[in-house]
């Protein structure tokens, strides 16, 4: 029998035991963003015709919360295990690098989805949806959590101190998510920054995810799907190579 279910279960139990910190807190943060931005901008901004600013903002906030929490789940679990030394509990048993990857990735995706669902649920007070493109919604949600979950594994393996992980989070993940059109349409940016946004993969995730909610997007969702899929494959491949080589885990 495989050890994968136990590792997956352990990772789920780990974040569920601190659900206030791992699920409730990010939902409250997203709610605060929504209250402030929609209150200030609702009357002044209409990004797409017939779509209110709140309706525009909610998918971005849901996606941003999913991205940050999927990353946080795998990266914080690994860095904590490394710093406390209990990483040996998963290195001593006969778990393959693939089982290791799938367990951490699966738990990160699930945490991202639970937080995303939570944010979406509390925003139902502010905007109702017919959700015309449920397939796109699921595809972008899964890919987004998968990409950031895998990136979290890379960061968790690479970082040797909490400080390094915080740098990864604050100087890479946070700018990528904030500068990807969560709060605005990139069409409102100058031409140069529009081009820059097009090389940010998170932009495609948010744009495609928003398309599933409002039926409007800045780029073709098929292009977004292609970019997201390629990113997921590339980061997963990198993660698997690192795990297979034992990089910073088996010296």
């Amino acid at each position: 029998m495989s050890g994968f279910p136990a590792l997956f279960y352990k990772e789920l139990l780990r974040f569920w035991k601190v659900v206030v910190q791992t699920v409730v807190a990010p939902v409250v943060t997203a709610l605060l963003y929504l209250l402030i931005f929609s209150h200030v901008l609702e009357a002044h901004v209409e990004v797409y015709p017939g779509v209110s600013y709140t309706q525009f903002l909610v998918p971005g906030l849901v996606m941003m919360s999913m991205l940050q929490n999927a990353f946080s789940n795998s990266s914080s679990s690994l860095i904590q295990s490394k710093m406390t030394g209990n990483i040996v509990f998963v290195l001593l048993p006969p778990l393959s690098y693939l089982e290791f990857f799938l367990a951490y990735l699966g738990a990160a995706i699930l945490r991202g989805l639970v937080v995303g669902l939570g944010v979406w649920a509390v925003t139902l007070w502010f905007a109702q949806w017919s959700l015309p493109h449920l397939g796109w919604l699921l595809a972008f949600a899964l890919l987004a959590c998968g990409i950031l979950g895998a990136l979290g594994i890379v960061a968790g393996i690479w970082a040797e101190k909490y400080d390094q992980l915080a740098a990864f989070q604050n100087f890479l993940i946070l700018p990528l998510t904030f500068l990807s059109g969560v709060f605005y349409s990139i069409h409102s940016l100058p031409a140069f920054w529009q081009s820059v946004s097009h090389v940010n993969p998170v932009f495609y995730l948010i744009d495609g995810f928003r398309y599933a909610f409002v039926g409007h997007s800045d780029t073709d969702p098929w292009l977004g799907l292609l970019v997201a899929t390629l990113c997921f494959v590339a980061i997963s491949a990198l993660t698997l190579v690192l795990l297979r080589s034992g990089y910073k885990l088996r010296h």
Binding site: L7, K10, V18, V88, F89, P93, P94, G246, R250
Partner: protein, 299 residues
């Protein structure tokens, strides 16, 4: 019979440090084997290579005939390791920790064995406690229990009694000795040499990454023929013919080393002739600590 543990020409370097230098040894099934050496000798590196936590630069390591890299699943299934560091996962309680650890080995319905292990390690009454709230000794027991969840035929204990009180040490050794009697192979590293002397049938000593001694414990104890006698003199000082060889240890007590009991006889005769009265005498046989110190000095 396939050896429980085989290390063949293992080399490992960390930067400038040659942690292991051509280490070879076989540990037979059912043995209680001691691995001794000063800090930095390479004991933990060797154990880490056997456990797959560290990869050797060259050489081979096998557990029950399974290569630790090529057949890592079988090798790790056959091995239980109690790590030196007192590590635990603060998110879980004792029972959850053991169930999860058991699950990593693909064992689902393992509760009866887990209950038995907890019972023997006196963990049952702490089963629902968070690991963070356990005392150091209890955390150490939990580490032992975690190493045993999959009933491994080979058990490695890396300094299991460091910082552990006398009661726990005794009960831990009773349990480990029982496992050994039931057929489990035990590899032990410890700084408490009297523990190694009592428990281990065979011992290897490492120094600077090399095996400098490998023999049965009783043969190693015959390695040195230095005996020692402590004397407390009630009246007078040491006779002049022996003064150079007698070391004062204060409070009227003296120590003399000798290699032949005939020398002891002539010392006592010299004391008698000199009119010196001996109020207390204690003879000390060489122990593993003497052997260890001697080997480390000479190699």
């Amino acid at each position: 019979m396939i050896p429980a543990i085989r290390a063949a020409a293992l080399h490992k370097r960390f930067g400038d440090l040659q942690a292991l230098n051509d280490v070879s040894l076989d540990i037979q099934q059912g043995e209680f084997f001691g691995l001794l050496g000063p800090n930095g000798a390479g004991k933990t590196t060797l154990i880490s290579i056997l456990a797959g936590l560290t990869r050797a630069d060259s050489g081979r390591a096998e557990i029950m005939g399974h290569d630790v890299r090529r057949d890592y699943r079988l090798a790790r299934r056959a091995l239980g390791v109690v790590p030196q560091e007192l590590v635990y996962d603060p998110f879980f309680n004792v029972r959850e920790t053991l169930r999860i650890q058991s699950g990593y080995f693909g064992l689902r319905h393992n509760d009866s064995w887990l209950e038995e292990v907890m019972h023997h390690l006196d963990l049952t009454r702490h089963a629902d406690k968070g690991t963070q709230s356990l005392s150091g000794g209890m955390k150490r027991r939990l580490l032992v229990a975690q190493a045993l969840v999959h009933k491994p035929p080979v058990i490695v204990l890396d300094e299991p009694t460091a910082g552990v009180d006398v009661d726990l040490r005794r009960s831990l050794w009773e349990f480990i000795a029982r496992l050994n009697r039931e057929g489990h192979t035990i590899l032990l590293t410890t700084h408490y040499l009297e523990e190694a002397e009592t428990l281990c049938k065979r011992i290897a000593m490492l120094k600077a990454g090399r095996v400098v001694a490998l023999d049965e414990t009783r043969n190693l104890l015959q390695h040195t023929n230095e005996h020692c006698v402590s004397l407390r003199l009630a009246e007078g000082g040491p006779p002049s013919s022996w003064a150079a060889r007698m070391q004062t240890v204060g409070d009227g007590s003296w120590r003399v080393s000798f290699s032949d009991y005939a020398e002891l006889e002539s010392l006592l005769a010299a004391l008698r002739e000199g009119g010196v009265r001996v109020s207390e005498m204690q003879l000390q046989e060489p122990d593993l600590e003497d052997v260890f110190t001697d080997i480390m000095k000479r190699t």
